[in-house]
Symmetry: C2
Subunit: 226 residues, 2 copies
């Protein structure tokens, strides 16, 4: 039951599952378990099994019962196009509509399913072909290619090293609000002033302001060292 990727269309729900599988498998590298998908999608494992069968038939994943599932080349490309739309819309919401970066996710989750290649292309153009979304995640191009940047967690920086905040691991609204409150943001230039051996907490400089962060927080902030 193979469908050519050019003409294949998945339902919104199938797209959401495929995207989750893509993310959980770290871009298609690792296999993913039914339970992990269920918890990340907030559905029940039984529903996931059902969906995996369907996605398997459409050949966007390789599905062997009772063993994990792996995304196929076909599926990876499809997922990347949905992710591309998701992140382009996030840029639109923040850059053009002045949303805060912690307000965009739910809306982008809807907008990513709008089907119109022309719309995606024109939006990309309108936004000036952005390469990264407001959370610092790379935006795949129309061929699914992503411009990766080598990143390390903030607490893995060397003392006195400088860099730029490019992404967060935990993009929950709560965490994003916390960062806003203390004055950290994507794109901010940071310098690691000190590391406390005892608890792994760090002292950093952001916009001439000194901040203290727990190891827990710092490990969720990703940096490109420059």
């Amino acid at each position: 039951m193979k469908k050519d990727s050019q003409f294949m269309t998945l339902t919104n729900s199938e797209e959401n599952y495929l995207k989750a599988i893509y993310h959980l498998s770290d871009g298609g590298k690792k296999g993913v378990s039914t339970n992990d998908i269920a918890s990340s999608m907030k559905t029940k494992p039984a529903s996931v099994s059902d969906m995996l069968r369907k996605l398997g038939e459409k050949e966007v994943i390789n599905y062997r019962k009772y063993y994990g599932v792996q995304i196929t080349e076909e599926g990876r490309n499809y997922a990347l196009q949905v992710i591309r739309k998701h992140r382009l819309w996030e840029v639109f919401l923040v850059d053009k509509l002045k949303f805060n970066w912690d307000e965009v996710h739910e809306v982008a989750e809807q907008l990513e399913h709008v089907r119109s290649p022309l719309l995606t292309q024109r939006l990309d153009e309108f936004l000036n072909f952005p390469k990264f979304d407001p959370h610092g995640d790379p935006i795949p191009d129309e061929f699914g290619d992503v411009k990766a940047r080598p990143r390390i967690a903030l607490n893995d920086m060397e003392v006195n090293a400088a860099g730029q905040i490019v992404a967060v691991k935990d993009s929950s609204a709560a965490f994003l609000r916390y960062l806003d409150k203390v004055g950290a943001y994507i794109g901010a230039r940071v310098k690691l002033l000190d590391k406390v051996e005892f608890d792994g907490s760090v002292e950093i400089l952001v916009d001439q302001k000194t901040l203290f962060m727990s190891k827990d927080v710092a490990s969720n902030i990703l940096i490109v060292v420059t």
Copy 2:
């Protein structure tokens, strides 16, 4: 089973039906028949009956079996909010993303269902609170109020009267393309030069260019006389 309009949500399909009923009833004035809804939605009458029962239970329409259906105040307000979103997105597509006015409908049909009051409000702001969409149709405000303009069909203008094209009755892609080809467009200033008694066709002036149009075409072009 009444739900307060503040918290009521309809499915995408229910929203499409309600919008169709609103349009067919001329803004809620007239009653609408099952068959009319079916043909305008390109579904079967049996499906419409099913949906009418559901919309009746949610009290957005008054439904009496075997008789027509009328939209309620509740339903009218809901429909107007969907129409508001539809037309705002059309403005966005044409003004910002450089879509042609005959390319926007299908995409707006999807975008109108995105649920985010903040998005709608910010989009409105971003577009500078437009009052009319690219087809000249009025955009309801957040309270559902519309700024109506008195319009007449082009072929009902007096000879030598001048005005502005503000809308089209038939907004099929075919018709819109025809208009583009002959050089007519929403916003164009027109003057009626002559009316042919015999067949009702007209001679008009658009951008220093003289055009002939059949009565059929002219009756689908709406003018605000100035």
